[in-house]
């Protein structure tokens, strides 16, 4: 097996993994019942999806074209840092502004804390 074939296989593997995860994220946004469960889908699978595509592009340009693009690595690191935080912030903003969780929700420890805080305000 020549090197070119291995590079192509790696590239295809990473990019298709990223595309599949992005697709499932989009499906999850349609299927899941409330904003919190949707936030699960978007903060995890979407991160891995974009990461997969970026890693595939990085590998292709590095090994097939001989061009080491450090900006792609930086993009991967920045995504890693920011995407869980944005998931957290959207969930928190929704909860504090009073969006109700889905009716299947078993129990809710945060409810009385927020209620207490609103009373003291």
């Amino acid at each position: 097996m020549t090197g070119e074939v291995i590079v192509n296989i790696l590239t295809i593997l990473f990019i298709s993994l990223g595309v599949i995860f992005s697709l499932v994220t989009a499906l999850g946004l349609v299927r899941l019942p409330d904003i919190y469960t949707r936030s699960h889908a978007s903060s995890k699978s979407a991160t891995l999806g974009v990461l997969g595509v970026l890693a595939g592009v990085f590998i292709y340009f590095w090994l097939a074209e001989g061009h080491f693009n450090s900006r792609l690595i930086l993009a991967i690191v920045f995504l890693f840092i920011t995407s869980p935080l944005s998931g957290h912030l959207i969930g928190r903003a929704a909860y504090v502004s009073g969006v109700q969780p889905a009716k299947e929700t078993a129990h809710d420890d945060l409810k009385q804390v927020i209620a207490e805080k609103k009373r003291n305000m």
């Binding site: 919190y36 936030s39 889908a41 928190r92 299947e104 929700t105 078993a106």
Partner: protein, 159 residues
């Protein structure tokens, strides 16, 4: 920790001056010799050797990657299941971590673990409110995962 790194750089510079060769490879050789010197003199430092802490950071990064992959796969399976029979819950978790960056790191890691999402941090930073996507079986498993995360973060921040 930073004092030790600085000392190691300084020792590498001294090695470059001793050998009168100012190339990157001499610097690397000097750095390793300085590392050996620091290893021999570690009982004079108030903190542990900085290499151990760097190793802890690296293992934390690998833990992070592994958890991200596992959680994506579990969400994947959850979404593709024909019947959505999950039962979400919001529960309270008390953390032993105190410093700001530790709590931030822990909540990022929890957000990326399978089936959990941090919704809020209490004002005194002692409690995290976590949304779990399936209350039935995950809470126990999640506790053990977070113990490994907290342990890994403590391993990094231990002096």
């Amino acid at each position: 920790m930073s004092a030790q790194i600085l000392l190691n750089f300084f020792l590498a510079l001294v090695w470059m001056f001793l050998t009168v060769s100012f190339t990157p490879s001499t610097f690397i050789v000097g750095y390793f010799l300085g590392l050996l010197l620091l290893l021999g003199m570690r009982r004079f430092f108030p903190q542990r050797l900085y290499v151990l802490r760097i190793w802890a950071v690296i293992s934390l990064v690998f833990l992070f990657l592994k958890e991200l992959f596992l959680s994506s796969v579990s969400v994947f399976l959850l979404i593709l299941k024909p019947r959505l029979d999950m039962q979400p819950a919001i529960f309270e978790y008390e953390t032993v971590l105190r410093r700001d960056w530790e709590v931030t790191l822990l909540s990022s890691l929890i957000t990326l673990t399978p089936g959990t999402l941090v919704l809020a941090v209490s004002d005194d930073q002692k409690k995290l409110y976590i949304h779990a996507i399936d209350a039935a079986d995950i809470e126990e498993a999640v506790k053990s995962i977070k113990d490994t995360f907290e342990q890994a973060i403590l391993e990094v921040s231990r002096s």
